[in-house]
Symmetry: D2
Subunit: 437 residues, 4 copies
């Protein structure tokens, strides 16, 4: 079967590259991936998958960091204008993006694959040495760019879906292919997990492109920091700073006090802690006591408990800083992810598989170095006794690295990704008993 998969991967390589370039050209930020999601849904349908979209795949209450209704409308319209599939677009209105394909054969474990699909609010470079520029598929959406490889992820997802569909009768159990919206800012995974989509999953895996050589892979990434992202607005009362200073409730003093105390939250004996007030804006005029201050904050911890510790302390600081100046405050949850690690047995399985497949080398990197909300899915499956792994996939990224305006990937990685991720599904089902011991 492996041979068949390799052949198939070769055959569809160019199609998948075309998908990747199409997604790259029409990037959409989190919760506005209307065009991307509708094309994926239609394709899954065509491949014979049961397709879940909208409220069938996510819990709308748990979406975090949603754009304004106005923006959602505008981007929906743009998706329609740019060739989104209308039938599906209708079901995705107001930020109900993403798509899930389900396929099964016989009785056996359920394996889930996750591919994230959103872009970033970055203006793509127009340098001619940038591949998307000189090949003509650079972003047409102003200020939006696939600068983190999710265009590649989404395209690979469609390729893997095609290969699995073709080999459907070799499945022994169920496969769920999850195209997740809003990974940037860790905003989307929670809503899929709380909808219950991972409840019956025995094994889940994902991958992310990395700047290693094509063919080099990390067999399992761990050490994802848990994180909370939230926006704070402190509401005070304005007053003329020269004439009636005593009448103001100074939101900027409140915010400044909060900043100093947030960074001062005590370190934790059990692991790493982080906090950042990434943005602040306050006040309306030079001679007015500032009556509003907005802060864009994140906390992190090397475990979910430590992240919660940081968050709880942060909330207390914001509350009391506000009260100190007789101000009120709002907190808006903008993103969240637990900590996460790949299971050792899955890492071993990936390593064995690459050996069997040939043509891959193993990186010794297993540290994730950041946060990612695939950990929601990993954690849910692991809680239920299942296993999870997130693979680092060398795509020798070009440019100044992820999230830079000239980020690009080596498309030779397409075939490597298709083969590894497709065969892994069957390999897991074959070995499922020993994996779950």
């Amino acid at each position: 079967m492996i041979k068949g998969i390799i052949n198939k991967a070769e055959k569809i390589e160019n199609k998948i590259i075309d998908y990747r370039r199409d997604f790259h050209k029409y990037p959409e930020v989190g919760w506005t991936e209307y065009r991307t999601s509708s094309i994926i849904a239609k394709r899954l349908e065509d491949l014979g998958y049961e397709v879940l979209v909208g409220r069938d795949m996510l819990n709308e209450e748990d979406r975090m960091g949603l754009p304004s209704e106005e923006e959602l409308k505008q981007h929906w319209q743009r998706a329609k204008d740019q060739g989104g599939v209308e039938e599906y677009l209708e079901k995705m209105k107001y930020g109900l993006t993403g798509a899930v394909g389900v396929i099964s054969n016989g009785e056996g474990p359920t394996v889930a694959l996750r591919f994230d699909i959103d872009a970033l609010p970055i203006q793509e470079t127009s340098e001619t040495k940038h591949n998307p520029t000189n090949k003509g598929f650079s972003s047409v959406n102003d200020g939006v760019m696939h600068a983190c490889g999710h265009d590649f992820h989404a395209a690979i997802g469609l390729g893997v879906a095609e290969i699995i569909a073709e080999n459907k009768e070799k499945l022994v159990g169920k496969v769920k292919i999850i195209f997740q919206p809003a990974e940037e800012g860790v905003r989307g995974a929670k809503s899929i997990v709380t909808k219950g989509l991972l409840d019956d999953v025995d094994f889940v895996f994902g991958h992310h492109v990395k700047d290693y050589e094509v063919g080099e892979i990390s067999s399992g990434l761990s050490g994802y920091k848990a994180t909370k992202k939230f926006d704070v607005t402190i509401h005070g009362k304005p007053a003329h700073a020269g004439g009636n200073p005593q009448d103001g409730n100074n939101a900027l003093i409140a915010a400044s006090t909060a900043v100093l105390n947030l960074y001062s939250i005590a370190r934790h004996k059990d692991g790493e802690t982080r906090v950042n007030v990434g943005k602040m804006s306050a006040g309306s005029g030079r001679n007015i006591i500032p009556d509003e201050a907005k802060m864009v904050i994140e906390t992190r911890g090397s475990t979910t408990e430590i992240s919660q510790y940081m968050y709880n302390k942060a909330i207390k600081i914001i509350k009391t800083s506000s009260e100190m100046q007789e101000c009120t405050y709002d907190i808006k949850q903008m993103g969240e992810a637990p900590s996460g690690k790949s299971d050792q047995v899955m890492i071993k399985l990936v390593e064995n598989l690459t050996e069997k497949l040939g043509g891959y080398t193993l990186s010794d990197i297993h540290s994730s170095g950041g946060s990612e909300d695939f950990t929601y899915m990993m954690s849910k499956v692991q809680e239920n006794g299942g296993k999870a792994v997130n693979i680092g996939l060398g795509a020798s990224s070009i440019g100044d690295g992820a999230h830079s305006h000239n980020f690009d990937i080596n498309e030779k990685a397409v075939q490597k990704a298709l083969v590894l991720l497709s065969t892994l599904v069957f390999e897991i089902q074959k070995n499922h008993e020993s994996l779950k011991l």
Copy 2:
């Protein structure tokens, strides 16, 4: 002569109201009063005044809070399109606005009058009960509005100029009528004073519309707080807040430390102190250590010395807060005014004059309650042994008061202003010896 002036004032009342409405319709913020200034200059020329504009009336180095070159260009073009007088516009390029008219007869003291002419960056209301709306002269310049009465001041200036010109042969000495740009934010007066325009002036007076009844005046305002306005930018170094927090130089921590210490500057035994950080904006993204923070600040004191004390302390705080986080900083002067008070003999003269004129009542308000850069001119004249007064003129302002989007004045005040300010010139010249004893 008083009778003649009263008659003349009645005759030109409507013309002056037209000027006021015209200026109101085409408001221009500080250093962009190209149209306003050029019309004033042409009119002064037509009335027989020697006219000073551009580098002849101000020291360009001492202009504070100048808009960007780009904005200056755009507004100059707008002025031209909206009927500015080309001959003068050419001399006012790049923020050289304002105009001065000089007239003299015989030997005698020099009397200066000051009228400020700039508008505010406020969007005018479109409520129909707002007079400019229903009479059709509301602002056509988006986001700009005469919300502080300087349209009235400028028009009165032209009226007073006309009356004085008509009575030129009754002058005994020189008269300078100064149309000052950029009073808002106390940015313009200094540049006129350092140019030397007040050096030979024996008496200077000004006025400001007030919300008292039409006909009620404050015979002399005092207690103007000295002030410094300045913008600060702190430059740090960004870093990934999760991955490499130790590599950042956190401009927001620096700014927050500065905020708390600025408001903590010790009170002063000799009088009132004020400080305000009216606006702050910092940072570029949630997970990036903030590498820049901008602050919009003012300090005040009931004397120029106390204002300087506050400013010196503030600068030290900004410097050391920045250094604490290994950041650098820029400070840009945006405005400045000394403290100021009206001379008692001038107040008395105004009171006597109103009695002589009839039809005026005296307010018992003599406290200014704020800052105003006419104090630069007052101080300069007083330093040289001259006398100064700033008059509060009842115009029963309508709306929510100065600087609100529905501010308006009662045009019945026009005649009261014309008569009082014109006769005051002659009254001063007549009494100049006893005034300067």
Copy 3:
């Protein structure tokens, strides 16, 4: 009668100087003036006064800034050992110090005089050029000194009492001579006022020695700032700073946040504001998260309302700073005084009297420049429609001024004080009707 009083003052001058030296030699800080008070009480009794001490003259709940029970005991014993009058000492146990003498004749207004009697926690100099040193009456109580002239005040009080007693039949009404404890730190007056001792008083006056020439007086001091004195303890939780920092509740971070916010309380348009954290001590060891922080604080305002504004803001800051670090806090009231001013009619009366008496000159100083709790008595009397004045009395103080370790007064001021204060009582009674119009 004036002549008689002058003669009497001459006669008792040396006795009063002896009293002053005796009090100087045995100084006692606030609420421990056992010896001083008992001697005064006995003397008042001998002079024929009705004498009030202990719970009869003050409300023990309202005493502020009381020393520990241990200290009260020790100082009581010292007073006994140093010649305190036992009969009265018994009634003064545990900080019930001070004494009041009441005398009356016929029907008429009630006049109260106030003399403060406490010393300061200052070590007196041993320089030989210091008069108390070379005349042998310097303090024998280690670390305690009359460095503010209250030894003089107390002695003058006894002299005035003697003169009034001798002229009892010339009184037309009642006289209360109040010897007040614990003026330093504004801790004592409130307890006397809330006991009701000023409720029936029509006129109250006091005096304070000043560094003007002997014979020069300020006829009435005003502008006393209202003030609140309080001690704060923040209670946190200790933890090993290296091992378990997350377990601590850091009282020092709470206190530091409070400090910066306290000094940042907004200035007030209606007058002067002050705040000071005069002392802080926190923490137990280098590697322990500080679990306690103590602060010694005062707020002031040029009116009682502004003082209350400052105090209310301060309390909110302390509360929320503590809560921010999950700490608790205690606040202990240590002193309080309202603002205060002398009545114009009383000032005029004093001026007329000095003219009548001859030998006095008038200072043009009427600004108090500080706080003093005689304002409690002034305010109470003024609230009830009465009149009050506090006189500045030149005693050409020697040394580095009040509260310095070499402070001293010129004893030639004794006679000036006796005459002025004694005659003032009769002068008030004589003029009481016009004074209260």
Copy 4:
């Protein structure tokens, strides 16, 4: 030979317990261990060691956290009164405590052992269930206590010295037994290392009592955090807070700003960071602007580089906070230790030895959890290509743990310690070649 050592250890057990109790009864804090050091020196001399004390064993410039000269004198006198050995006391004046014994035989590697000898400023409990109380050897030095087991360490050092001396001819190389002063606060080791005493050492080992069972040992502790201890004094200028607040330079505002910024120093990607302001005291009186603030600070890092990073940031914060308030500052180094870890080959050697000896069990604890200045010696030896290990020795400590007022150890650990540490010397020499490969 092992058998001989075991026998000897049994024989001297009671003597060593007596030493321990004697040291416990006369505890001395760092740099005042005159009595302890002189007794040790004399005993080493009697056992035939070459003895180094005073300037021969340490570099007096590098002693940190020295008590005042006055205290040094007083404690020296106390040591003399309590039976210190005069001959050595003379050489130890002014804080030159500690002792080193050197012995050698034949050619071979140099092995150093380190024992720390100082007590803590803790008042010992007087509970009767506390062994030292009911056996009569509790501290007679008020406020000083061996609450960290250094009494045991010192006594064991003497026992090991005796055993080695008896087996001198079995040595193949040199042995240095270092009795180190001032380990508490990590103040003493540096001065011995910079004197050069470790320069020729091939192997160094130490031990610390732990609360494991008697017989249980940790074969090698690692993860010692690097640390810097320092005291800061900020010098401002006092002023009357009510009268002349503008004249003060507020040291408490400076210190409060420093506190908030110190705890805000950015976390480090390479490992753990710690900072603590353990104590603060500031100000002189409620109504005086605080003119001085003292802070007792420590920084730590999981590597020496991170500790230095924290320290450098801290110093910058203190400097700029002081300058912000126009204050000056002093920094006094009070202690310092690098990070440290035991070498794997040495750990293995200890494990093999315990197996050979029998009667020991191995703890799986290898994490130190704190700081300790033995790391100076370990680092120096490791830099020169040598090996180091620090052993955790179960003494089933009683009471509330190290540094508590009822801390105690189980004296049954004496024999376990004597045997293990003595045999280890010979074991190292025997295996020295393979250890240093």
